[in-house]
């Protein structure tokens, strides 16, 4: 039936089938089961609607036409009440099923997302914020898609069709009023309405973005106030809001037209049915019972279509979320082979490595050998891309040209998880999980006993710091280590590296935030950690280079040159 296809198109709002992300959600087995259940509910609801209004029409006919007292009509009245409550029960059941299915789908998708994050590994950390948003808010938005859009769409497809068929049987002339109006409304909505509604929804979301503008203004308020710019900022924000209001109202004037058409179609065709059956009743061509029944069925015909508008908005939000999630799940992880990581301390070698980013050579023709047990410092001016070789060695990224070899094996052929377990990486600002000091050290090796944890803390020079904490190693470090100083965080990360006991240690700007006294303590711990391992340190400060046996310098053009230069070591 062409009407049905149009209806489906109007619902997707772009005249096409569901996109891949939405399809991935709606094709899940539990969502299919939900759709089947919703179809069954819709068929039963349509039948109950006809039954309920038929009984109501009979009661009116009996009282008005036959002059009977309602007391004698207890049976049809009770029947109408029963049919009505049965319909309410079915709808409640449908909502319950939909909510449960949605909860289940979001649990499963949520776990899939976390699994994907682990599979992608640290390569994903450059997009941390975006990934975290997709994993939390994105998954939440699927609720609109599963719990509202799927039931709403099924209901709006089944119920109007069945009711139209019922009216066609009961009173064909009324069906001639209802069906064309219904199709017209849907066609009109398809042509202009729902698109405009989408524009309105987007425009309305702009209100949230304006809120972000306010947050931005508040964030920089200390500077704004001390620079005497507060009145100008307030004026500017008010102007932006006023401009936004005018623009939004212009969009809404057109966008609300679709709602107007839907409403007008529904009310006017109800009015039209009332007038035509009224005239035919007057002329004697129709009985009151039948006339009343088709009149009562007219609003029921339009009700699911009207409800669809609200459900569609939920889908509108869920659709891009589903797309983002599908894209995240499909992200290729870093290549992983099946060659085990060589035992002992392997040689790491960069051969002719080049990386281009934003049209600029970050690295070009870099040859760097890290012999077993060597200590190499990589220096260079800020912004030269010193972190890039580190990411390559860790396997967080792939070089554009050249290759990275570990013990003679190309890095992509190694078992990736094993290689990550073989490298201790201490970033510029180490990550601390919101547990205790011991939890944070133990992240390096979850099965380590208390003895090993405290040895690691001693070697990282944290004995006194931990002793001064209220509960020693069982003190919670607070959200991202809020209670620790920069130097203490760093030493905690070093303790983790001690425990992890890996052949390769990579340090990224280990002392950039520290005062000279703290720097000396940290460097002593680093010197201890480096014993018997290969050490690669990235730094722009001079002090750390002293404990290395070799200094290489990355020039701003991406070329690596050997030896220290006066600029790096005074």
């Amino acid at each position: 039936m062409p009407g049905r296809r149009l209806l489906a198109r109007a619902r997707t709002g772009r005249g096409g089938a569901d996109d891949a992300g939405t399809a991935a959600v709606t094709a899940r087995p539990e969502v299919r089961r939900l759709r089947a259940a919703c179809t069954a509910v819709a068929v039963l609801v349509a039948a109950l609607v006809v039954l309920q209004w038929a009984l109501v029409a009979r009661v009116v006919e009996a009282v008005v036409g036959a002059g009977r007292s309602p007391a004698a009509l207890a049976v049809p009245l009770a029947g109408a009440l029963a049919a009505w409550w049965a319909r309410a029960g079915l709808l409640a059941l449908r909502d319950l099923l939909a909510a449960r299915t949605s909860a289940r789908v979001r649990r499963e998708v949520g776990l899939d997302v976390v699994r994907t994050l682990v599979r992608l590994g640290p390569a994903a950390d450059a997009r941390a914020g975006e990934l975290a948003t997709t994993a939390t808010a994105g998954v939440r938005l699927l609720d609109g898609l599963v719990a509202r859009y799927v039931p709403g769409r099924t209901h709006a497809t089944v119920v109007p069709l069945l009711l139209a068929a019922a009216v066609l049987v009961l009173d064909p002339p009324t069906a001639l009023v209802l069906v064309p109006t219904g199709v017209l409304v849907v066609v009109f909505l398809w042509l202009v309405g729902l698109r405009a509604q989408g524009a309105a929804a987007r425009q309305w979301e702009g209100l949230g973005r304006l809120g972000a503008l306010l947050t931005d203004a508040l964030r920089v308020l200390p500077t704004v106030v001390t620079y005497g710019r507060a009145p100008a900022t307030v004026r500017w924000l008010a102007d932006v809001a006023e401009g936004y209001r005018v623009a939004t109202l212009r969009v809404l004037r057109a966008a609300f037209l679709s709602g107007f058409v839907l409403e007008l179609g529904a009310t006017l065709s109800t009015a039209l049915v009332a007038m035509t059956v009224g005239v035919r009743l007057f002329e004697g061509g129709l009985g009151l019972e039948c006339a009343l029944l088709v009149l009562l069925l007219a609003p029921e015909f339009f009700a699911p279509l009207r409800a669809l508008g609200a459900d569609r908005h939920a889908a509108l939000e869920g659709r891009p979320a589903a797309e983002r999630i599908a894209a995240l799940l499909a992200l290729p992880g870093p290549p992983s082979g099946d060659v085990p990581v060589p035992a002992g301390v392997p040689e790491v070698r960069l051969e002719g490595v080049g990386v281009r980013r934003d049209g600029r050579d970050v690295l070009q023709g870099v040859d760097l050998v890290l012999p077993p047990g060597s200590r190499t410092a990589l220096v260079g001016p800020s912004g030269a891309g010193k972190t890039t070789p580190v990411r390559l060695v860790l396997g967080y990224g792939e070089p554009g040209t050249g290759r990275v070899l570990v013990g003679g094996t190309p890095l992509p052929r190694l078992r990736r998880a094993d290689w990550w377990a073989a490298v201790a990486h201490v970033p510029e600002r180490p990550y601390l999980l919101p547990g205790t000091v011991a939890d944070n050290v133990r992240l390096g090796r979850p099965d380590a006993d208390d003895e090993q944890v405290s040895t690691a803390l001693v070697r990282a020079g944290l004995t006194e710091v931990v002793a001064a904490l209220p509960q020693g190693v069982r003190t919670r470090v607070g959200e991202d280590g809020a209670t620790l100083s920069g130097g203490e965080r760093l030493r905690l990360a070093l303790a983790r590296a001690f425990l992890q006991d890996t052949p390769l240690v990579v340090l990224d700007e280990p002392t950039s935030q520290l005062d000279p006294a703290t720097e000396a303590v940290v460097l002593a711990a680093v010197a201890d950690l480096a014993r018997g391992r290969t050490l690669l340190t990235v730094t722009h400060r001079s002090a750390p280079t002293a404990l290395h046996d070799r200094v290489v310098r990355l020039r701003p053009d991406g070329v690596l040159v050997d030896g220290a230069v006066a600029q790096a070591v005074p």
């Binding site: 319950l96 920089v220 500077t223 809001a241 998880a417």
Partner: protein, 545 residues
């Protein structure tokens, strides 16, 4: 909530509510007049003319409902946009006196996050809370009065059932669902924190145990959330059952009451179907209240917090009368001590320092010595708990705030970069500076190349995200250099720069003709042009570095 009500444009709000009430009543009237029309026609009146008034009414209500709804949506959205704009301006104005003290540090971050959430909560307060409540009262009362006019007993039916569906059921659902809703929110929040922790610490999780701990934690959290959502769904399903089922009671009651009257010949038969369908249509009056109920608590709390913010005493206030004029621009903290609210020990104690106009002073010392606090005092971001700070011999607290602020250009350790253009950021320092001047200052701080890439009108990204930390530091410095203030207060300008760039910046500051007070941890960059002042944490015995 008062904060919201104060900002509502009264006339337009009343119009929106009236239009929404009209929409509901038109819908009920359409059903009622249709029922009356069909019944009247079935009684075969002598002429079609008898039916004409009813036919006209049916047509009119069919049209008016759609038209009223359209205009109502426009008006109420307009009111919301005006309300949001006024609320936000008010919020910003309220925060200006609290700034900078209340907005810096971890507490400042929390305050901002909370304000953003409160702003969101108040945004829909008219559309989803106030208007539906007003419509329920107005349209509901009208329905009750009309029903009572048809049959004396009938008024009680919509009154009781509307109260049930509009107040009792939503209130019950809100209360019964509250524990589950709280559990869902808590599980979601915990899961968000877990995911963020996992993403930030991926290297450590994957390197440690291959992510097994993280996966197990995520699974447990997700199961918790699913269980809470299932509980919430049960409550919601009962609410659906009542919402869909209760109107039938009104319909049947109308049939029994009015039908009795018709059978007894006391009531016109035209009114039977009309009254029954009219009662049914009146339930739309409370349709918006189901969603309004859970919003109410959150919106009230958000409104209270916004009000409380306006009542917070600022850290610094303008003096009552005009104080003495400062003579020159020497700045001097005299026996100054600072203890932060809630702290057990002072951040700064007995500081005496005289900075002559044009002098270059470097504040050095270990973390926690109070170096940044000294800058905050000179800037009058906060007042000392003991002693006083003099500018040209006058106590800062006796000078107009605007004058104190005009005297200094401050560069915080992490300069706050709004998401605007490069030029927009720079002109915070001097709104009148022309492009040539901007380019010259950018060259001074070593940003000439980056500015050429980005363009003066180039967007610096959200919170300056398209710039590196070092570039943001240089931009903050450039902004301060543009500001025509005699006193330059610079906090750790070299933390994000390499040695050569750091030395260049320090040397440039030393060449400045005006006074410079710089906090630094790198004393090796300082030469004889700088007077080095060493600060020690309060309580440290003198002589021990």
């Amino acid at each position: 909530m008062r904060a919201v009500l104060r900002h509502l444009p009264r006339g337009r709000t009343a119009l929106a509510v009236a239009l929404a009430t009209g929409t509901v009543l038109s819908g009920a009237a359409l059903l009622a007049t249709s029922g009356a029309l069909v019944t009247n026609a079935s009684l075969r009146p002598e002429s079609l003319l008898v039916l004409l008034p009813l036919i006209t009414s049916v047509r009119a209500f069919g049209l008016s409902r759609a038209a009223l709804r359209y205009v109502e949506r426009l008006v109420s959205h307009d009111v919301t946009l005006r309300l949001v704009a006024r609320l936000r301006t008010d919020l910003l104005l309220g925060l200006v006196p609290l700034s900078p003290a209340a907005l810096t540090g971890v507490r400042g971050g929390e305050l901002l996050a909370r304000l953003h959430a409160d702003d969101d909560a108040l945004q829909d307060v008219l559309l989803r809370l106030l208007a539906p409540a007003a419509v329920a009262v107005l349209a509901g009362s009208a329905a009750v009065v009309l029903a009572a006019a048809v049959h004396p007993g009938l008024g009680a039916v919509p009154a009781a059932l509307l109260l049930l569906l509009g107040v009792v059921v939503p209130a019950w659902a809100d209360r019964a669902g509250a524990p589950a809703a709280r559990a869902v929110a808590a599980a979601e929040e915990a899961r968000g924190a877990d995911v963020l922790d996992l993403v930030r610490g991926l290297a450590d999780h994957v390197g440690g145990d291959g992510g097994a701990t993280a996966l197990a934690a995520a699974d447990a959290r997700l199961r918790e959330q699913e269980a809470a959502e299932r509980a919430a769904a049960r409550v919601a399903a009962v609410a659906t059952l009542l919402r869909e089922g209760v109107p039938a009671l009104g319909l049947v009651a109308a049939f029994v009451l009015v039908g009795g009257g018709v059978a007894a010949g006391e009531t016109s038969p035209l009114l039977l179907a009309a009254a029954a369908l009219g009662v049914l249509g009146s339930f739309e009056a409370v349709a918006g209240l189901g969603a309004a109920w859970p919003l109410a608590g959150g919106a009230r709390a958000a409104g209270r917090r916004v009000e409380a913010l306006a009542a917070t005493p600022p850290a610094v206030v303008d003096p009552e009368g005009p104080g003495p004029r400062p003579a020159g621009h020497d700045v001097a903290p005299v026996d100054v001590g600072v203890t932060y609210p809630g702290a057990s020990s002072p951040a700064l104690a007995h500081l005496d320092l005289v900075v002559r106009a044009g002098e270059k002073v470097a504040l050095v010392g270990p973390s926690g010595a109070g170096k940044s606090t000294v800058l905050a005092l000179l800037l009058r971001a906060r007042d000392p708990s003991a002693g006083r700070v003099l500018l040209g011999g006058a106590d800062l607290r006796r000078l107009p705030l605007d004058e104190v602020r005009a005297a200094s250009a401050w560069v915080p350790q992490e300069p706050q970069v709004p998401g605007a253009s490069l030029a927009g950021n720079l002109r915070m320092g001097d709104p009148a500076a022309d492009d040539g001047r901007l380019r010259a200052v950018l060259a001074d701080v070593g940003l000439a190349d980056r500015a050429a890439d980005l363009g003066l009108d180039g967007w610096v990204g959200e919170a300056g995200s398209r710039l590196s930390a070092g570039e943001r530091a240089r931009l903050g410095l450039a902004r301060a250099l543009l500001r025509p203030a005699p006193l330059l207060l610079v906090d750790e300008p070299t933390a994000h720069l390499d040695r050569a760039a750091g030395a260049a910046v320090v040397s440039m500051l030393a060449r400045e003709p005006r006074t410079v007070v710089m906090v630094t941890h790198d004393a090796t960059l300082l030469d004889e042009r700088w007077r080095v002042v060493v600060l020690r944490p309060p309580g440290t015995p003198p002589g021990i570095p």
